[in-house]
Symmetry: C2
Subunit: 213 residues, 2 copies
DNA sequence: GCGACACTACACCGTGCAGTGTAGAAGCGC
DNA sequence: GCGCTTCTACACTGCACGGTGTAGTGTCGC
């Protein structure tokens, strides 16, 4: 019998500490450079415990990413409801879209975490096929945004024949230049710069998607 | 005296072979995973020779990237002149822009090299600060495209108050979704898919930048 | 007190890999 | 032929790191 190595269940608090430390170190150093010893130190936990909890470095990595992704998706939904509610009125539209874009991009560039995770995903996509989500429109973030845009379209504020596509472009226009210039968070950007880039992106989006353009 | 390790000049052909092999292995495996032995094997050269030529892994890496970048920039200029000449007429515009976008994105997604290099840069930007070009508008690719758009603007085909910004958006719209979905070349995309994504991007660009929109 | 479990500290193994040293073969100018 | 350089083949060092084994220290339920 190949006997499963029987990972330990352990306490949720400790799991959380490990996963948080792991993400921090992975994001900072990259997968290969990150050492399990460093993660253990960061989590204030013995290396042995990490192996008892997660088995090996790879599974720790995947767990950390999965957990973070879920948290980020939840964050995004909240952000979307806060800045771009379905009840947005016509003359609030540009302001609301800019607020949405700014909140989104600021989160990307300041918290550094979102973009950094993206950077990590891009770096490791080829080595961990399971990280690659097959259906691009299935990404919850895109889906939520598409639904919101569709609502705005039905109310006649925007002209969005293809909400999924429009959502992709909006995300791209708003965050693309920020990611491009900051190398997905590797290089810090000034706040004013971020704002300027975001506003430019929203302006282009509106020129392309405003009703009757 | 700290005596410089005196790198060997060597033959250009051998240098080229090493650099090409290095890029291939670095792109395939990433910087840390790539072993100098593997590069030597790939280049059909002894490991010692690589060290005599380049000193250490890091300098080899930087040389390979620098050389590739220059080549890609030259390629881009040629591509731009071929698909989007300054003499483009009004009714050729959409077709020419699409051709440009398609050629650009196809090169990105098919040759795999361009996107893969980008992936490598994103992955290593934080670890090799010298890779990060400080001036984002100084990237020759963006500059060349901006000049071309400015020409089209002056001839009244497009409305581009800020050509540098427009160039950035065009690049983003055309390649962004391809990069996004292919994880910068880590996942292959079907040709038809690429074409569809590119055309969508051009359509949005034109809606936003067409004269009198 | 006692057993069971969680955890740490620490020593340890194996391996992969950056980088070096060197002997010798191959080519070239003269 | 002779000396010089280039290059290879190969052995070797040092080190970092993934992963394991284990003895010992709490800590909790009973």
């Amino acid at each position: 019998m190949p006997d499963t190595p029987t990972l330990r269940q352990g306490s949720p608090a400790k799991r959380a500490a490990i996963v948080r430390a792991a993400l921090e170190v992975f994001v900072r150093d990259g997968y290969t450079r990150a050492s399990v010893d460093a993660i253990a130190r960061e989590a204030a936990v013995s290396k042995r415990t990490i192996y008892d909890y997660y088995g090996d470095k790879e599974r720790l990595f995947l767990s950390a990413l999965a957990e973070t992704r879920e948290a980020q998706e939840a964050d995004f939904r909240r952000l979307l409801d806060r800045t771009l509610p379905g009840t947005t009125s016509r003359d609030e539209l540009a302001v609301a879209l800019t607020a949405f874009g700014r909140a989104f991009a600021t989160e990307i560039a300041r918290s550094a975490e979102r973009a950094a995770v993206m950077r990590l995903l891009i770096a490791e996509a080829a080595h961990f096929p399971s990280l690659v989500r097959p259906d691009p429109e299935g990404r919850p973030v895109q889906r939520a945004l598409a639904e919101r845009l569709a609502e705005l379209g039905e109310r006649g504020l925007l002209e969005v024949p293809d909400p999924a596509e429009a959502a992709e472009f909006l995300g791209l226009l708003v965050t693309g230049r920020v990611d491009y210039r900051s190398w997905y968070g590797a290089v810090p950007l000034a706040d004013g710069e971020i704002e300027r880039l975001v506003e430019g992106g929203v302006r282009v989006f509106l020129r392309a998607y405003r009703q009757g353009s």
